[in-house]
């Protein structure tokens, strides 16, 4: 393996891993904030118990999101210094703004929320977790703007003297057409993730008929959010497909393993190509569906891999402009398949829960628990597809991945980095999963445990009182 391969493996491993935690943080922060607001509005203790329970799981997840995010901020400089030099004028700004606007808000107000139960009045306390959620949305916006620029660079020119990209229109970067669909797609997927996480854990408890007063409302809330968000994922994903076909035709062709241009194009359910990936041996197809996905009409033309390859060679010079076709093809299918399943599961769940019902069939709950894994699979597949589908480019049409890597860092150093990070992440995953399981199974605190202690007689008493929360 040369340093490009090692650096790509590290980016892939650390980014997919980081993105297990990110969407759950985005989705669950809103759900926890909503439950706390529900408690404030109604005064019903079961909402406070739910807030504390889901809040604890949220924090176990959040800690991992933060620490794995540190690596994301610095591996551009460490492994991809030529990329950083080339794009810094454009790419650094959204990252810095993300830190200044979002990370400070998230970390500071989360600290206030965790430790502030007895220090802040109830409304202010609730505002803190809403601010955390807003912070996660801001963070997502700026980092996706940076990523969208890599998919579809806008608002820049390449300076011929320095050979670097120079920002010419920051507003164009922030309102990139790619970004305007990638952001809602990612956020709705994050709500599906938070929703199905809450649904899965609730299903586990409801199957055992435990704490029904907490978990039935949790399940209902989770399924409503998931159902709405799933539809959002589908709509935004559909628009995104058309934008992508227009901006990165190779990615759409690879997603379909469509070797020859077709009009109308059929959607492949299953395709096997030759080993060198040049042509197709066998496939099962649904006529005209790909035309619709890619162009919005049932008889639109969709460019095949071989035609796009020829067109890109003509435009960018000789070279191989095809991404890894099986990876793009299968991840696209997993992503779309998961999207359909999450919608079905949530709608079926809502139907089964209608008018106060609580189904008796244990399979309902088993499927509910298993569905918890779906969004994590779908999110990963989606990102692997969109990032690997962009190859060989790191910035589409402008900078190749092979020209992005740090020239001064030895492959040995990079190996030490990827191996130590992967090993550490592996260990932390075991620990995190163990804690998540332990606290998910433990269930919510009882009514007595969540109610605040009786008001004390004097100030000196309150000084001696133990902290509402301590590490």
């Amino acid at each position: 393996m040369d340093s490009v391969d090692i650096a790509r493996w590290q980016f892939g491993i650390t980014t997919v891993y980081h993105f297990f935690f990110v969407p759950l943080t985005i989705g669950l922060s809103a759900l926890v904030a909503g439950l706390e607001t529900a408690w404030l509005r109604t005064g019903k203790t079961r909402y406070l118990r739910a807030t504390k329970f889901w809040g604890k799981l949220f924090l176990i997840n959040f800690a991992m999101g933060i620490v794995t995010g540190i690596v994301q901020e610095f591996q551009f400089g460490m492994n991809w210094s030529d990329y950083s030099r080339f794009v810094g004028d454009i790419f650094g700004a959204p990252l810095a703004i993300e830190g200044l606007l979002a990370f400070f808000v998230e970390s500071t107000f989360l600290g206030l929320w965790i430790f502030g139960w007895d220090r802040l009045n109830a409304k202010l306390h609730n505002a803190c977790i809403w601010l955390v959620h807003i912070g996660t949305l801001l963070s997502a916006y700026f980092i996706l703007a940076a990523n969208s620029w890599m998919q579809h660079p806008v608002g820049y020119r390449v300076d011929h003297e320095t050979g670097r990209a120079v920002l010419t229109d920051f507003w164009a970067v922030l309102t990139n057409s790619t970004q305007l669909v990638a952001f809602p797609h990612t956020i709705t997927a994050a709500f599906v993730t938070g929703g199905l996480f809450m649904a899965g854990v609730s299903a586990w408890h409801l199957a055992r008929r435990k704490n029904i007063e907490v978990f039935r409302p949790s399940l209902k809330l989770a399924l409503v959010v998931t159902a709405i968000a799933s539809i959002g994922v589908a709509i935004t994903g559909d628009v995104q497909g058309k934008v992508m076909t227009d901006q990165q035709p190779m990615k759409m062709a690879a997603a379909e393993a469509l070797y020859e241009t077709e009009q109308p194009a059929s959607f492949s359910l299953f395709t096997v190509g030759t080993l060198d990936g040049d042509e197709e041996i066998f496939g099962i197809k649904v006529p005209r569906v790909l035309s619709f996905l890619a162009t919005g009409t049932f008889d639109g033309e969709v460019k095949g891999i071989n035609d796009v390859q020829a067109a890109e060679e003509a435009r960018y010079g000789p070279g191989d402009y095809r991404p890894n076709i099986p990876v793009a093809y299968w991840n696209f299918r997993i992503m779309v398949g998961v999207g359909i399943l999450t919608a079905l599961v949530s709608l079926a769940g809502l139907w089964l829960l209608r008018r106060g019902r609580l189904p008796a069939n244990p399979w309902v709950y088993r499927i509910g628990v298993l569905s918890l894994a779906l969004p994590f699979i779908g999110n990963s597949a989606g990102w692997i597809f969109t990032e690997m589908g962009r190859q060989p480019w790191s910035v589409f049409g402008v900078l190749k991945t092979s020209a992005s890597v740090s020239p001064g860092v030895s492959p040995a150093s990079m190996l030490i980095s990827v191996i130590s990070l992967t090993a550490l992440y592996g260990v932390l995953m075991v620990i995190e999963a163990g804690l998540m399981l332990k606290y998910a199974k433990a269930g919510p605190p009882s009514e007595d445990e969540v109610l605040p202690p009786p008001p004390s007689d004097s100030d000196s008493d309150s000084d001696e009182r133990s902290l509402a929360f301590a590490y």
């Binding site: 551009f76 400089g77 030099r85 810094g88 990370f103 400070f104 001064g408 150093s413 550490l424 902290l467």
Partner: protein, 339 residues
């Protein structure tokens, strides 16, 4: 003032804030085995920084990202050049961050002991390596014509840089000790002051030597003032600590850190990464982003940095009370799930 100069000052400000704030976090972490003789005492120590450590660490993230935005060449050269030390810092910060959150999640002494070790090493390693890194930045490292680091790992571990690492380590231990004296009551507070008495002497020795060498080899006339101010800060700490004036003692270490970092950045200016090979060095001019990017970033920083300072400051006000062993709630009850 040139925008590149403005951004050099902004970057210096971000790092200074980071070392001022996370300096005492690191100090608390390093003092965990010294001042935390049992689990309740260790929890007192950890909870003094519990609500704030994460917000403090964001200053590092923002310093890095702002360097990327304002001086991409600096960002690229620094982080690819100081590759393995930076990797060690990242690994340490990952383990340490998780440790704070997870150590109390199981009522098992071995589990807690493991996370306590993680907090100790996760604080010591970055505290030391940041000193090594910044000493090397000021001293200059071998950079080739395309600004790539051309040295080895061994080149970074030169005596001057190691003295820099020793300085930051001791300074942060001291900063943590006076912070603990200010934020705790009872026995921990008494012990913290005792540690500060020893640490301040060590800090004067190591820090004095480091700043003196820095001044002689890389200094400017004005850095006599900042370096002298840093030394005065330490003397203030020594005097205030002896008299039990904990607020002043903390102000003294804070001033020492701020002025020591100011000394390094002032000595550095207008270079950002000088090269020992004659060419290939980076300055605020050849490392900077375009004027347009700097202008946007200046607006963003001017509007949002004050807001951040206000709400972070408010957090410290909310959690201003001292903590003692009597405030630590019992370990969370281990509710076993009913199958």
């Amino acid at each position: 003032m040139e925008l590149t100069t403005v951004w050099f000052i902004v970057i210096a400000f971000l790092w200074t804030s980071y070392f001022f704030l996370e300096g005492f976090d690191f100090g608390v972490g390093m003092l965990l085995p010294v001042l935390g003789r049992d689990d309740v005492e260790r929890r007192v120590l950890i909870n003094t920084i519990g609500p704030v450590w994460d917000g403090n660490e964001v200053w590092f993230i923002v310093a890095g990202a702002a360097t990327f935005a304002a001086f991409p060449e600096w960002y690229a050269t620094l982080f690819s050049g100081f590759y393995l030390p930076l990797l060690a810092i990242l690994l340490a910060l990952i383990v340490r961050g998780v440790a704070f959150e997870y150590r109390g999640k199981k009522d098992d002494p071995r589990w807690r002991a493991r996370w306590d070790r993680a907090i100790f090493w996760g604080s010591l390693l970055p505290a030391f390596l940041w000193g090594v890194a910044f000493a090397n930045i000021v001293r200059g490292v071998p950079l080739d014509a395309s600004h790539e680091y051309a040295g080895t790992l061994g080149d970074l571990l030169n005596p001057y840089a190691l003295l820099g690492g020793l300085t930051t380590t001791i300074l942060f231990v001291l900063h943590g000790a006076v912070f603990l004296a200010l934020k705790t009551s009872g026995d921990v507070r008494v012990q913290a002051r005792r540690v500060a008495t020893v640490a301040v002497a060590a800090a004067v020795a190591a820090g004095g030597a480091f700043l003196l060498i820095t001044q002689v080899q890389h200094g400017k006339p004005v850095t006599w003032l900042t370096a002298g101010g840093a030394a005065a800060g330490l003397l203030l700490t020594a005097a205030a600590n002896r008299r039990g004036r904990e607020g002043w003692a903390f102000a003294g270490t804070g001033a020492a850190i701020v002025l020591a970092v100011a000394t390094l950045f002032t000595a550095l200016f207008p270079d950002v990464m000088p090269s020992t090979l004659g060419s290939g060095g980076l300055t605020t001019e050849n490392a900077a982003s375009s004027g347009y990017t700097l202008k946007i970033m200046t607006w963003v920083a001017a509007v949002f940095t004050p807001i951040v300072l206000v709400y972070q400051g408010w957090t410290y006000w909310v959690f201003r009370k001292r903590i003692s062993t009597s405030h630590i709630p019992a370990a969370p009850k281990q509710t076993e799930p009913v199958p």
